[in-house]
């Protein structure tokens, strides 16, 4: 897995979309935290599947169906291995949002008495507590709000320090005997800081709480071994890690998946069905109702093979390089405030910031006029923005195909923004 590094310009050549001009400038795509671009290898894998092997999986006995089923399950094996997991512990989802809803609704169903005795240990009661962080993406916040509302559980949160790190002292107080679930991001999609998973898991374990990790932003950039991290459940999205839309993964420890009642119900997740009741398959199939995103699973397998080809340690090193260049470029500029600028934290290549006196939308527009694509808004993290006294910020996020030149063009454009709007204070 160790790699001598890679040449981002060669990598870039694998991504057809990047080779274009926007507003008369070569495209500098710095919005990979929202969705990444996809290499030829991924597009080709999907097209190959669809033009040669496509057929219903786990449902047919004819030759194409058998071949498609094999490719689909091979993809599961490949993607599971990428996050250090066994294939039986990897559930296909349509993305991280669905994965988190699956867990929250599964626990809600257990709380409503579904799943029988096996699921009773997961049931929530009034007075139980669910803990999240102040830095949550809405996808790892609202499903818990809704679950709390349905079960009478209470939702609490771990605050974030001014420098963007989690307040671990507060965490030790917030997480207590009543805590049943601790859900947190591996990396916040605004702060970019890698959270201390081991400490948080230890706190949760100490009180017997279930841990749910949102690995959306780490999966594309940080070598992952989910079982080694010790979390009970974790989710990630394919489209943020060079893969297709509409595919993602839910990893779960075997015992936890076995105890969880189904979420979506329908075909291919059952054994016996009568008009009155249904018996369910064991994990992972219990959680995969209906026709699965088959070509997308094959595409995601190609994406993680691509990342493995570069070597995740090399990817991580490359992202760190870009991240440092971004922060070092922005820091000296007048009127720039980075969100969560803790200096010694481990990070991914993602920086959110405010340009004092210029609204994020206007900053984004100036950058766009120079071909630079960044994201502006609350990035689905309104509570965190409120905590920093903002409604919106600008976010630049890089991936394997970005170069130091991309970062320099970005910093240069940001440097001119306040002038353009005549802001001098």
């Amino acid at each position: 897995m160790t790699s001598p590094g890679f040449d981002p310009l060669r990598v870039r050549a694998d991504f057809p979309l990047l080779d274009q001009q926007v507003n008369g400038y070569p495209l500098v795509y710095l919005d990979s935290g929202a969705t990444s671009q996809k290499p030829r290898q991924v597009l080709d894998a999907e097209t190959d599947f669809l033009t040669r092997t496509n057929a219903a999986v786990h449902r047919g006995a004819h030759t194409l169906a058998a071949e498609a089923t094999e490719l689909f399950e091979d993809a599961r094996h490949t993607v599971a291995a990428f996050v250090g997991a066994d294939e039986e512990t990897l559930v296909w989802t349509h993305g991280a949002t669905e994965g988190l809803n699956l867990v929250a609704y599964g626990i809600g169903n257990a709380s409503a008495g579904r799943g029988g005795a096996a699921s009773a240990a997961l049931a929530l009661r009034a007075g139980d507590e669910i803990v999240v962080t102040e830095s949550e993406h809405h996808a790892n916040l609202i499903p818990w709000q809704e679950l709390a509302a349905r079960t009478g559980a209470r939702l609490r949160h771990i605050p974030v320090h001014d420098d963007g790190t989690l307040d671990l002292d507060a965490a030790a107080t917030v997480i207590g005997e009543r805590t049943r679930i601790l859900a947190f991001p591996h990396v916040s999609n605004v702060l970019g800081i890698v959270n201390p998973v081991a400490e948080l898991v230890a706190l949760a374990r100490g009180v017997g709480a279930l841990t749910v990790l949102d690995a959306c932003q780490s999966a594309p950039q940080v070598p992952l071994d989910l079982p080694a991290l010790g979390v009970d459940l974790a989710v990630f999205s394919g489209h943020k890690m060079l893969g297709p839309y509409g595919i993602g993964g839910l990893y779960g420890r075997r015992e936890v998946l076995e105890a969880l009642p189904p979420f979506l119900t329908g075909g291919s997740m059952i054994t016996t069905v009568t008009l009155d009741a249904a018996d369910y398959l064991p994990p992972p199939h219990r959680f995969e109702a209906g026709t699965q995103p088959v070509s997308q699973a094959v595409g995601l397998a190609a994406a993680v093979r691509y990342l493995d080809g570069l070597g995740m340690p090399a990817v991580h090193a490359h992202e760190k390089l870009l991240e440092r260049r971004m922060r070092e470029g922005l820091r000296p500029l007048p009127g720039i405030r980075m969100l969560g600028d803790a200096t010694d934290a481990e990070r991914v290549a993602l920086v959110a910031f405010e340009v004092e006196g210029v609204h994020a939308h206007d900053v984004g527009q100036v950058l766009d006029s120079r071909g630079i694509a960044v994201r502006v808004g609350h990035h689905c993290a309104q509570p965190l923005h409120r905590r920093f006294g903002l409604t919106a910020s600008v976010r630049a996020s890089a991936s394997v195909y970005n170069t130091l030149d991309d970062v320099d063009a970005f910093v240069d454009a940001v440097a001119g923004v306040r002038d353009y709007f005549g802001v001098t204070v």
């Binding site: 609204h359 939308h361 527009q365 100036v366 808004g377 609350h378 409604t391 919106a392 353009y420 709007f421």
Partner: protein, 145 residues
């Protein structure tokens, strides 16, 4: 930055700083208030009007947002004052039509005054909501008045 300058005309930048009508008037007389929000960026506006018989008076507003949304609210303030309900609703309808035209239509200076400078926004589909925010608030406030 020619495309950009088409969007951020001098008048727009001026209005985004001047912000005519900024600061909500106290609620007295026949007034109506509307709160609008752009869910994508979290920008918000609260706009209040007094309706005197059939005539709009005292448009005031408060809110945070980008230069386009602030300038648009500022420009609307002067424009709406003294209009009848019908005239305002036809003005809003026309504004919406032009802004959604993707650069095909222009705002008439006689009808829109300073706000005619917002024509350029219609080429930037992602910004149309910013420019519309105050106008939707006025439409909603009138419906409540």
């Amino acid at each position: 930055m020619s495309g950009l300058d088409g969007l951020y005309q001098e008048l727009i930048l001026d209005h985004s700083k001047a912000r005519d009508g900024f600061g909500l008037a106290a609620e007295e007389g026949a007034h109506a208030t509307s709160h609008q929000k752009n869910p994508i960026c979290g920008d918000e506006i609260t706009l209040r009007v007094r309706v005197d018989g059939d005539v709009i008076r005292d448009v005031t507003w408060e809110g945070a947002g980008c230069s386009i949304s602030q300038a648009s609210a500022s420009m609307l303030t002067g424009l709406a004052d003294g209009l009848t309900r019908d005239a305002a609703s036809s003005l809003i309808g026309h504004f919406r039509e032009v802004l959604r035209s993707r650069g095909q239509l222009e705002l008439d200076e006689d009808e829109f005054g300073d706000a005619a400078a917002l024509s350029g926004v219609s080429k930037f589909t992602a910004r149309v909501k910013c420019a519309m925010l105050a106008w939707v608030a006025l439409e909603d406030a009138l419906a409540r008045a």
